[in-house]
C-alpha cells in the first residue's frame, strides 16, 4: 500500500459518507479511498455514525408481503462478487468502471502543449476529467471559483502546495493560485481532477485555451 501523505479533509469524507457531494466529487473520493488506508479508515468512522443513526431510527411500517417479495428478488439474482484491482493496474476499481478499462482504454483529446484530457462527467454542478501531462511540463497558472480536487494516479507533480505522487490528493479553492508542474523523471503524470465551478486562468493565452481545455 502506498503511504499517502496528502489526503482528503474530514469535511469531504463526511460529505461522501452522507451522500452530500456532487457525483464528480464522489468519483475522486472513492478513487482516493481505494488508494489510501487512512482515508478508508476515516471514511468508515463517518459511516459508523450513519450506522448509529440507522440503529436509532424510528421504525416505519413495512408492507405485509415485504419479506416474501424480497425473498423472491433474492431467488432471481446471483451473488455479487468483489472485484479487486489487478496487481499492475493504474486505475482503482471505481475509476475503471467509469472509463471501461485501465489507463490504456482512455480516449484522450489533445488540449495544449502536449497535454491531453478526457472528460468523464460534466453537469451544472461539477465535472470530472482525467488529465495527462507530459513529464516536466507545466499546467497554465490558474485560480479557482469553486473547489478543485486533484488526485495523482501516475507520475507526480509539484505545485506551490507541495509535491504530489500516486494516491495524493490536492484540494484547491478560491485562495489557491497554483502552477502544477509534472515531475521531470521520464514518467508522464496522470491525474483525476474534479471541479465544482469553472477555473479562472491568469494571462491571455491560457484564457484563449480555456474553452478548448474546458476546465
Amino acid at each position: 500500500m502506498i503511504d499517502v501523505t496528502h489526503t482528503v479533509p474530514d469535511s469531504l469524507l463526511m460529505g461522501y459518507a452522507t451522500g452530500a457531494l456532487p457525483e464528480a466529487f464522489d468519483v475522486v473520493i472513492s478513487t482516493h479511498v481505494s488508494l489510501s488506508d487512512d482515508a478508508r479508515a476515516r471514511l468508515a468512522s463517518f459511516e459508523a455514525v450513519g450506522g448509529a443513526v440507522l440503529e436509532d431510527m424510528d421504525k416505519a411500517d413495512v408492507a405485509e408481503d415485504s419479506l416474501e417479495k424480497t425473498l423472491a428478488m433474492i431467488g432471481a439474482a446471483p451473488p455479487r462478487e468483489a472485484q479487486p484491482m489487478p496487481k499492475d493496474g493504474v486505475f482503482p476499481a471505481p475509476l475503471r468502471a467509469i472509463v471501461g478499462g485501465d489507463s490504456d482504454s482512455v480516449k484522450w483529446r489533445n488540449v495544449a502543449r502536449g497535454a491531453k484530457q478526457s472528460v468523464l462527467q460534466s453537469n451544472s454542478e461539477a465535472s470530472v476529467r482525467l488529465l495527462h501531462i507530459p513529464a516536466g511540463q507545466a499546467m497554465p497558472e490558474h485560480s479557482h471559483r469553486g473547489m478543485e480536487l486533484t488526485l495523482v494516479l501516475q507520475g507526480g507533480y509539484s505545485s506551490e502546495d507541495g509535491h504530489f505522487v500516486r494516491g495524493d490528493l490536492e484540494v484547491a479553492d478560491q485562495e489557491t493560485h497554483h502552477t502544477p508542474v509534472a515531475d521531470d523523471d521520464g514518467e508522464d503524470c496522470i491525474c483525476l481532477v474534479a471541479t465544482d465551478a469553472r477555473l479562472k486562468f491568469q494571462g491571455l493565452l491560457p484564457r484563449i485555451a480555456q474553452p478548448f481545455i474546458g476546465i
Binding site: M1, D10, S11, M14, G15, A17, T18, G19, A20, L21, P22, E23, D26, S30, T31, V33, S34, D37, D38, R40, A41, R42, L43, A44, S45, F46, E47, A48, V49, G50, G51, A52, V53, L54, E55, M57, K59, A60, D61, V62, A63, S66, L67, K69, T70, L71, M73, I74, A77, P79, R80, A82, P84, M85, P92, A93, P94, L95, A97, I98
Partner: protein, 181 residues
C-alpha cells in the same frame, strides 16, 4: 454488555446468510433492520411506496453481498447504512454511485476475532456518545445523514467522537492487507 452480545448476534446472522444461505437468519435480520431502513429512506425524503421498494432492494443486496461483509471493519448497522445510502443515491441520480474498491477476504484471511470484538465495543461506545450529545447537535448529525445538509453546511460540523473507532478500523485494515499480501 448487552449491546455487544446483540451485535455479535447480528454478525452471526449475516455469516449464516453468507455461508448457508439461511433464510431464517435473513428473516431475523429483515424484521429488525427493514423497518429502520424504510424509516431512514422516508426521513431522507422518499414517499412510502418508493421507500418500500428501495428498502426491499437494500435487503436483497444485503443477501447478495453477505459474503463480502467484514465484521472487523464495520458493525452490521453501519454496513446496512452504506447499502441504503448508496441505493438511495442510485435512485435519485439514476446511475450507480462510485464506491471505493472492495477489499475482499477469502478463507485465508478470516477477520481476527480480537479485531471483531474490539470494533463491536467501539461501535457501541460511539453510538452511546452520539445519543448523549446535546439534542441540537444530535439533530444536526441526523439531518446530515438524511441528506438534509449540503456539503458546505457539513464543513462546519465537527465534534464527532471518532478517534477510537478510526484507529480500530485502521488496525483491522492493516491486518487485512497483511493477510492478503
Amino acid at each position: 454488555a448487552t449491546v455487544e452480545v446483540t451485535e455479535a448476534y447480528w454478525v452471526s446472522r449475516i455469516t449464516a446468510i453468507a455461508k448457508d444461505e439461511d433464510k431464517v437468519a435473513f428473516a431475523d435480520v429483515f424484521r429488525h433492520f427493514a423497518p429502520r431502513v424504510k424509516g431512514f429512506l422516508i426521513k431522507s425524503g422518499a414517499d412510502d411506496s418508493l421507500a418500500e421498494e428501495c428498502m426491499q432492494d437494500v435487503m436483497a443486496t444485503l443477501w447478495q453481498k453477505a459474503h463480502m461483509y467484514d465484521p472487523a471493519r464495520a458493525s452490521v448497522a453501519t454496513w446496512i447504512f452504506t447499502i441504503a445510502r448508496n441505493r438511495k443515491i442510485d435512485l435519485i441520480r439514476k446511475y450507480a454511485r462510485p464506491e471505493p474498491e472492495d477489499l475482499p477476504w477469502g478463507p485465508e484471511a478470516e477477520p481476527d476475532q480480537a479485531d471483531v470484538m474490539a470494533l463491536q465495543q467501539d461501535s457501541a461506545r460511539l453510538a452511546d456518545a452520539i445519543r448523549q450529545l446535546p439534542e441540537k447537535q444530535r439533530r444536526l448529525i441526523e439531518r446530515a445523514y438524511f441528506g438534509d445538509l449540503t456539503h458546505s453546511e457539513i464543513a462546519a460540523e465537527t465534534g464527532l467522537p471518532l478517534g477510537t473507532i478510526k484507529s480500530r478500523i485502521r488496525l483491522a485494515l492493516e491486518r487485512l492487507r497483511h493477510a492478503m499480501s
